[in-house]
């Protein structure tokens, strides 16, 4: 697993756990929040991949 994937995976776990905990405390509607935000992980991952590819091109 590359650094990018580890970063995405870590943020994924962190976010899901955080939202779930806030939901259990009644501070947010966990399902509504997760439903709205889950595609962000795909965007984030894609952005990191693009950044990494760009940087590899520059350093070459």
């Amino acid at each position: 697993m590359s650094a990018t994937e580890r970063l995405v995976f870590g943020l994924f776990l962190l976010t899901v756990g955080l939202v779930w905990t806030l939901g259990n405390f009644g501070l947010v509607d966990a399902l509504r929040t997760m439903r709205r935000t889950w595609p962000v992980f795909l965007i984030l991952w894609g952005a990191l991949e693009l950044y990494r590819a760009r940087r590899a091109e520059v350093t070459r």
Partner: protein, 464 residues
């Protein structure tokens, strides 16, 4: 690396799929919005605001009874002043802000009516929930009721704590939250689902039914009838106990009468039983101590331990061990594929076991031991007072008898040896696999028989 990428991609997409599916179910299933999908572990979750209404006082003549129905909220019934019922409704509305919640709460009312000698207390929850603009607003209705001490009570509550004290005859059903009952003057009937229940100081009999929760009942003047599934039960002090249990553990102390347990996957642990004890269970252990009456146990795939019995003991067990200690009456023990360990069988009896061992230390009266592929070891330090008959197969027999007792012995070991080493033993016939004779002028008959094993008879230390 590719596998890791694919795995992470599938994880995120799978997570998204689950979330989307849950969302669609929440939005589209009829009734989903009505009940509020914020219910979590039987309660509403989310921002909430409490509101309290002025208490309502209603006359309640002597001899009247109370009937309470509630959902999603605690109900507390306690003793109050004579001649009146005092009812307090506290609502909790789950809304995003206080003003919206206040408007919603203003629609929630107490619903009381008197029919004959019964005062019915509830709320208008159903009317509120039928309203068009309820959406997914959740609300709790908490009732605090004071009635004259000893008022008979019928109570139904779901999704809220239920607490009852100082009432008359009680008929209570509660679910999804704890039930606590104290000081009931008459009989009590309690049914609880998906929650724990505690009942104490019941003046009459108790009928306690529980599903998916633990129960505790103490100081019941009458008998207890217990019916539980998927939960443990702890009972102390009652006039008798009839229990039907599945998947749980029963602990009973100070049973003033008979104990009858029909269990499946149920562990039974009972002490101080004044009457007889009858236990039938599977896959879990049975332990009975200090039973004054007769004991009957049928256990499959679980061990049996019985200590200090005033009457007789009849035990059937399979695939585990049986332990007996200090049984006054005769015993009858049948164990398939398990061992028997017994001490102090004051009434003698019969013991059968297969594919394990039989070990008896001290007995009186006649004793018959039958083993099948089982070793037998018997020892006593007191002179025999009855016939001893031991038969087994494919294993040995070892007997330790007092040197000061008279007896008439016959021992046969087919395909084995017989050794007798008793002081004063007079041989009448003896071969390597056979011995017969007597000690003293003859006494109780001792017959020992095995095949493919050795018989060893020796002297035990004399009793002090």
């Amino acid at each position: 690396m590719r596998a890791a990428r694919a795995g992470l991609f599938l994880l995120i997409m799978g997570f998204g799929g689950v979330v989307e599916t849950a969302w669609q179910v929440r939005e589209r299933v009829p009734g989903g919005a009505k009940f509020g999908w914020r219910i979590f572990r039987g309660r509403y979750e989310g921002p909430s605001f409490p509101f309290e209404q002025a208490p309502q006082v209603m006359p309640l003549a002597a001899g009247s009874s109370l009937d309470v129905g509630n959902e999603f909220g605690a109900v507390r019934v306690t003793a109050g002043q004579a001649g009146e019922a005092r009812i307090l409704l506290r609502t909790v509305v789950f809304e995003r802000d206080q003003e919206t919640a206040r408007q919603f709460a203003s629609r929630i009312k107490l619903a009381t009516r008197t029919e004959g000698s019964v005062l019915h207390v509830g709320t208008n929850r159903q009317d509120v929930e039928r309203g068009q603009d309820v959406g997914d607003t959740g609300f709790e209705t908490h009732l605090e009721i004071q009635v004259p001490e000893g008022t008979p009570l019928r109570l139904r509550n779901e999704h809220g704590e239920t607490s009852v004290a100082d009432v008359g005859a009680l008929d209570l059903e509660g679910s999804y939250d704890t039930v606590d009952v104290q000081r009931v003057k008459g009989d009590a009937k309690v049914l609880v689902r998906h929650a724990n229940a505690s009942v104490s100081d019941v003046g009459g009999a108790l009928e306690l039914t529980a599903r998916h929760g633990d129960v505790n009942a103490q100081r019941v003047t009458g008998a207890v009838r217990l019916d539980t599934q998927h939960g443990d039960a702890e009972l102390d002090s009652n006039a008798g106990l009839v229990a039907s249990m599945r998947h749980g553990t029963l602990q009973a102390r100070h049973v003033g009468g008979a104990l009858d347990v029909q269990g499946e996957h149920t562990e039974v642990n009972a002490r101080d039983v004044a009457g007889a004890a009858n236990v039938r269970t599977t896959y879990r252990n049975v332990e009975l101590e200090d039973v004054k009456g007769q004991v009957t146990v049928d256990s499959q795939q679980g061990s049996v331990k019985i200590l200090r019995v005033g009457g007789s003991a009849e035990v059937k067990a399979h695939h585990d061990r049986v332990e007996l200690d200090a049984v006054t009456g005769p015993v009858k023990v049948v164990v398939e594929n398990g061992s028997v360990e017994a001490r102090g069988l004051h009434g003698g009896g019969e013991i059968q076991a297969s594919h394990d061992s039989i070990d008896v230390d001290g007995w009186s009266g006649a004793l018959t031991v039958a083993g099948d592929n089982a070793s037998v070891h018997l020892a006593t330090d007191k002179p025999l007072s009855g016939r001893l008959d031991v038969r087994t197969s494919h294993d040995g027999v070892k007997i330790e008898l007092p040197s000061n007792g008279a007896l008439e012995l016959t021992a046969n070991a087919e395909h084995g040896d017989v050794r007798v080493d008793l002081p004063g033993f007079t041989v009448t016939s003896q071969q390597s696999n056979h011995a017969s004779g007597r000690v003293g002028s003859g006494g109780p008959v001792v017959v020992l028989q095995t095949n493919n094993g050795t018989i060893d008879v020796s002297a035990a230390e004399a009793a002090q």
